[in-house]
Amino acid sequence: MIKKEFREWALEQIRVLDGATGTQLQKAGMPVGVCPEIWVLQNPEVIIKIQKEYIESGSDIIYTCTFGGNGLKLKEAGVEDVYSVNRELAALSKKAAGSRAFVAGDIAPTGQLMEPFGVYTFEDIVDVYKEQVKGLLDGGVDLFVIETMMDIQEARAALLAVKETCDLPVMASMTFERGGHTINGTDPLTALVTLQSLGADVVGCNCSTGPEQMLEIIKKLKPFAKVPLIAKPNAGMPKLVNGVTVFDMGDDEFAGFVEPFIEAGVNLIGGCCGTSPAYIKKISKIAKGRKGKGIADKGGVLVLSSSRKTVAIGKELPICVIGERINPTGKKKLRDELRKGSMDLVTEYAMDQVDEGAKILDVNAGVSDIDEAAVLTEITKTLSTMVQTPLCLDSSSPKALEQALRIYPGRALINSISGEKVKLDKILPVAAKYGAAFILLPLDDNGVPETAEERIEIVKKVYEIAKEYGYTKDDILVDGMLMTVASNQKSSLEALKVIKWCDQEFNANTVIGLSNISFGLPERTWINAAFLAMAASCGLTSAIMNPGVDVLMNVKRASDALTLKDKNCIAYIKTYSVNNNGKPAGKLKNPVYNAVVDGNREDVVSCIKVALKEGTPPAELVDNYLIPAITYVGELYQKGKYFLPQLIQSAEAMKSAMAFLRPYLETGSAVPRKGKIILATVKGDIHDIGKNIVGLILKNYGFEVFDLGKDVPCDVIINKAKEVNADIIALSALMTTTMEEMRIMAGYVKNENLPFKIMVGGAAVDQNFAVEIGADAYAADAYTAVKEAERLTDYYSDTQ
């Protein structure tokens, strides 16, 4: 069967798949722990009987018993001849099916992880699957099914293995955890986008948790599915009852989900773990002969994916920002880093741009003296795990693009394909093989046409050729072909005409390389911003630009609001509303005070400088602003209005302020010293961040703190306390094995009648323990430590 026929067959009416094989084999006597593939070859009549039962129950497709038939799995069972095992198992299923059902060659996880998580490379895994595919193919399978995939990259490897071996149809099915993602964080929509663009003829999910959750997944997928959808859920979740694994959903309850699945848009339905021919019979009774939903017409939306995220570009969506900064052109530092093979700057640029609002990252590795293919691949690998944002691979090298696309675990965008013969001959086939979307650049071997009309002709021509590779208008972004107005002032208007034509006549999404327009001009941002607004009004749907330029992002957000792409201006309001700044009420309007309350370490010193210049005495800054500010922060923390990072940021701001002011302050006018505290993490304990936080906060509230560090022996602490005439010894311990050191210390201080109060804290410690060991105070957190220290020092003073 050819792919096109299979897709039509799958859409013609609801098709019924088989149910579980493993649990049926166990019921038939297969012991737990044996290799099912080998056991079945030794007991062929069992699988033939099971599969015949499925066909008699209504299965239109049965899966070969080769779930663990890949080389890595079979090797663990001591089997070397992978090809023969798969060929023979496929032949058994063909024998069972005869002409009554199709046989799908079953491919499943290898049980191993590939780089960077495991030892196998992507190509290793492709080769492992190819070996299995060849056996199944020669055993006579009608199609392939890649099922129960937990890792999108492994699913891609299996899909490529089938595609590069034969032209048979292939179904791809992932398994999702209770939270709706694979264990590596791929959501169902992202899996769909990635697998359907890579050439799967049917996509969906199996196994997972049960039909209820899978139904919700199918509902979400249907609007974006360009292929038929598959659902093959478990009969609920497994439980062990009296030593037997049982699934908690019976066949009647299971069958109750068939109608909702059809309504949600499923085209092929079956059962996974815990189901049996009885389940399939009930599914068939409801589903057989029913017309399923066709492919939803979600026209006008281009979707891209990474391994964890899908991004859509469309007329009704806000302008999609494609971050431009990972491009060594004009960036010496980045060029040098790439030459050295360092990815640090690439990662930093990527994170910055994502923070600033980029939804896609353009990556370019076009540096002289380097292997562009190797570097682009390395960038792709690095960013694929570092950020969730899909990538736009910016290269004119077919080799570089093919290498990067092969290992990219999602659907990438290619920048770009034009009407130039070399691009059409070399890059378009590569893009099509990996299902990448592309930017269509309206130029050809004659150069860049001056007029919009000529550019439009090129767009039409390239699109016609791309259609032959299966591309639709939803798979391309037409570039407005922005040139600098410094050399041709009409260029901006011609680009706008192309964008408008795409929006109103051609119905394709558009993109511009925004900064091109201002090249050679002063104050480029104004030109860029003005053009962005103009292009937005003509229907622009995406822009390659620098999201770090506030003016551009502000214009983008405003344009989205004004062109109705930001519905009810929600994003605009969320970004700019002054009522949504989260600041607690009750703040004084003094910048020094505000800087401490806001934890703004960078600004507090400059605010103090301004205040000093205006004549405010240093002591007044401390008494009237800094101390009230840090006190207010403490109150906010106590009330739960601030949480720990905010308390510490304020403390850090206070610390910077005091460090700056110290030389200006006369003796006696600084923060009053409330007492001396020895601070240490006890002997044997290596955790100190909690102790360090307590130290910082205590200092801010006027205590003199002697921090002895971590893993500090008792005698060192006592000696220091004696040396500085300390008021309090504050001890921290995280573990139950180290907190006993506190008991030793408290006992020693008491027995020796030393004049030190003991305060304890840390994850393993509580009030009861503090009382039990005779400590004077227990501090659950840093601010409580301040309050307790104040209490202890007052008590101490009173008793002198």
């Binding site: 495991g118 937990m150 964080g185 037997v244 806001d598 934890g599 510490i648 290596i686 573990m735």
Partner: protein, 225 residues
């Protein structure tokens, strides 16, 4: 007892809100302005990049479970009533460890030394959650593989230091998982270095079958998980 297996550089999905919760964020009362939230999110993202999750695990048969102890294959005994209760229906267990690596430890120290305590604190909380997410990832991975063989991995796990499973048992897990081979150290007080490392035990339930050894040895030696 099966061989120790290892996964490196795992990017385990984690819940950002768990990091906020760990830092004391209260949904109903804490105010945080946009700039602060952006800053904290950025620190979390940076910490995620620096964390280099390595997972180590080993399947082991359970010979017997008494009221106050569990005896694993090889005669290894954990004295803990709570663990015994936890594993009472299990015939195998998975021993596991997750570490966020030395780099994040070093970075947290370096931030503290340079006075950037807020950033250090966020890195620290993020690394704890991410290391724990590594074990979640491993359990989800094993659960799916085990399900195909009719076995069920427990949803919860048990770590030394909790309930009556004393922390010194961490050294037993340390040895069984051969963590010294993977650059993890254990202190005399049974703390792991890198500090963002965690060990745990989870039970595996399996149907009765004829392959089970009378003395409670490994049930499924050729399964390859």
């Amino acid at each position: 007892m099966k061989e120790v297996k290892l996964f490196r550089h795992i990017r385990a999905p984690y819940t950002k809100s768990m990091i906020y919760t760990r830092l004391g964020y209260l949904k109903t009362s804490t105010f945080i302005n946009r700039e602060q939230a952006k800053q904290i999110d950025r620190w979390i993202a940076e910490a995620e990049i620096i964390c280099d999750i390595m997972l180590v695990y080993r399947l082991i048969g359970i010979e017997s479970v008494c009221s106050g102890s569990v005896r694993f294959s090889g005669g290894i005994i954990f004295n803990s009533g709570a663990l015994a209760e936890f594993l009472k229906d299990s015939r195998e267990a998975v021993l596991m460890a997750s570490t966020a690596g030395a780099a994040i430890d070093n970075e947290i120290n370096s931030l503290q030394n340079s006075g950037e305590m807020a950033k250090a604190l966020v890195y620290d909380a993020a690394a704890s959650v991410i290391a724990d997410a590594g074990l979640d990832w491993l359990m989800a991975y094993l659960r799916r593989l085990l399900m195909q063989t009719g076995k069920i991995l427990a949803n919860k796990r048990f770590s030394p230091g909790y309930a009556d499973l004393e922390l010194y048992n961490q050294s037993v897990l340390y040895d069984l998982l051969e963590l010294d081979k993977w650059g993890i150290q254990i202190t005399p007080k049974y703390m792991l270095i890198p500090r963002k490392s965690v060990t745990a035990i989870a039970g595996i339930n399996a149907p009765y079958n004829e392959n089970r050894r009378e003395n409670g040895g490994d049930v499924n030696d050729k399964e390859g998980i």
